[in-house]
Symmetry: C2
Subunit: 358 residues, 2 copies
């Protein structure tokens, strides 16, 4: 076996042709006589030659690598989105490079942008799921092809979107339709001031004329939902809870259970995303499906269009699907009664705050 990598010159020598000819059969850029093609291919196989992407990129000023910039790589939605990008990229002959931006600090964002731009890449897909993603998108040089992936439509950048607001609105409306006076909301860390999930929830309540309760803020870790669940259990006006994602919903349910409440008998809980474990949960979780992998795939396709300048319609969105399972039901009449007084007060409170412009 050959230890050192053969070069295109080695292949040319072995095949008895010139270097450019080898390059031609490699790239298929120009026609080469069948006889030579065959000899070149034989030489490539014999020498186990693999072209150097670095040299090729340097000479051609084109690259088959794309970068994914993300605030995280491991959490469900992120990992699935990245997987979708990777699958589509691989199918198109591209390789994926990862750049993680942990915070939205100037320094961290710059570091990430530099790390990304230094690599000669064809384009970047950026997960605009959180503040670091938003910040990175803002700082990315304008001359590099880029596609943003997110839950809310934004202007000025080609993007693939999951219509979170719509899904959240439908889900909340469904809960209201079950007979709940209102629906409480536990947020996951938003990408900016307000997420599509929260917006949709609010919109549904407004449209239904239901009171809009104060939101509860959870982190990304399921256990952050636990404490919130316990607090929620103490408030008898709470009969339905819509959580920003399934993992938080599971934490909230654990907290509710710790407090002795049953789901959905005492409180209905809905999640978001349709995490693979949502249907395994006890009770199986009502949620809104989010096709993250599809988002990633669509994002990459869009990027390909941006790269090739095939700019017809640089936007892609898809309607989400609500999945009704057993964690949601009609409100518990007793609890509804018990909470009535409290809710009344809260409502007045809420009205007051709104009037003051909060």
């Amino acid at each position: 076996m050959n230890t050192k990598n053969a070069t295109i010159a080695d292949v040319a020598a072995r095949a008895g042709v010139s270097v450019p000819t080898v390059s031609r059969v490699l790239t298929g850029a120009a026609r080469v006589s069948p006889a030579k093609v065959e000899r070149v291919e034989a030489a490539i196989a014999e020498l186990n030659f693999r072209p150097s992407a670095a040299a090729r990129t340097l000479a051609s000023r084109r690259s088959q690598v794309i970068a994914v910039i993300a605030g995280d790589t491991s959490r469900y939605g992120y990992a699935e989105t990245i997987r979708g990008v990777e699958v589509a990229a691989r199918a198109a002959g591209y390789t994926v490079m990862i750049t993680v931006v942990e915070t939205a600090d100037d320094e961290e964002v710059d570091r990430a942008i530099t790390a990304t731009m230094t690599q000669s890449i064809a384009g970047v897909v950026i997960l605009k799921f959180d503040p670091p993603g938003v910040a990175a998108l803002k700082r990315l040089p304008a001359d590099i092809p880029v596609v943003a992936l997110s839950g809310v439509r934004d202007v000025g950048v080609p993007q693939a979107v999951l219509d979170e607001a719509r899904a959240a609105e439908e889900l909340t409306t469904l809960l209201l339709g079950l007979g709940h006076r209102t629906v409480h909301h536990v947020r996951v860390p938003p990408s900016r001031r307000e997420d599509g999930r929260t917006t949709g929830w609010r919109r549904a309540l407004r449209k239904a004329g239901a009171p809009v309760p104060e939101t509860h803020d959870a982190g990304w870790e399921p256990r952050t939902g636990l404490e919130i669940g316990r607090r929620l259990a103490e408030d008898p006006s709470v009969t339905a809870v819509f959580c920003g994602n399934d993992e938080i919903a599971m934490g909230v349910m654990r907290g509710l259970a710790d407090a002795g409440l049953r789901v959905p008998d005492d409180v209905s809980v809905a999640g978001f995303d349709d995490h693979p474990l949502a249907e395994m949960w006890s009770p199986p979780l009502t949620t809104a499906e989010q096709d993250f992998a599809g988002l990633g795939r669509r994002g990459f396709q869009l990027l390909l269009h941006v790269i090739d300048d095939t700019s017809d319609r640089l936007y892609s969105s898809e309607r989400p699907r609500i999945i009704l399972r057993e964690s949601t039901a009609a409100p518990n009449p007793e609890r509804l009664r018990a909470g009535a007084g409290v809710a009344q007060a809260a409502e007045a409170d809420d009205a007051g705050r709104e009037a003051r412009g909060a």
Copy 2:
């Protein structure tokens, strides 16, 4: 602002120095007079210059990119391991490139190896968690620095390991200590004939003189555990189940619950990995913690040693930790009695098979 990327020559011209001098301040390879350093840095900032990794790699034959080869990127253990690698790589100034190998087919593995080797990379970290990973490791050229990450120690390759067999043995022993006659086992897809998890389980049973029941094979999806759970419920000799990972354990528990059995009252269930949702589950899941992110970090550090040829001890392992929660308890006396006859028969059966050399 400058649209096109500035080159090192532009910087040199602007700073009034030679190109190599700019290179020197860039790489810090040689001393440059403070005055020039300052001018060069100013020029770099003004031109917003970013060196081209492709050119640098081509000229220096060194790269700051590593590849991660994995059979999957999204599942819990995989995603966390990759995250660990990325964090460590980023801290050391490296960028991570992902190569997914979906199957162990020659063609697919070759495609992945070629895609990886074509990029000029400093080394590769390979997730030897499954057959594709094992196959890819086997086909990787010998001259590229490589570190394998897995649950079982193997010879011939620098590697970071999570001692699965030991964790599984301890967990099974713990279950046995609770009074169960034996422990049933649901496997996740193994990396080869037998995983460390299964090996450890078997070892514990053997050491305790407990019968070794037939294993059940689940897939990666939680729902594959569901059907197995239902089947397990029908067999009264089953009082304790050790699952290959937490997600499958959750599916199994759902199946058990569907059949009307309670955990841990009727059947104890233990998982593996300590998935973030394991403690949110009802009941909270007994499991063995697996520090995947740590595995990834250690793997990258090892790779750095392989690259620098600092070959002291190219192996790293860590003792796992068992987490006892509420999904496991002493066996249900009634079920134990009911199952005795069946178990007896199964045991005889098992003994017979073993005698025949299975």
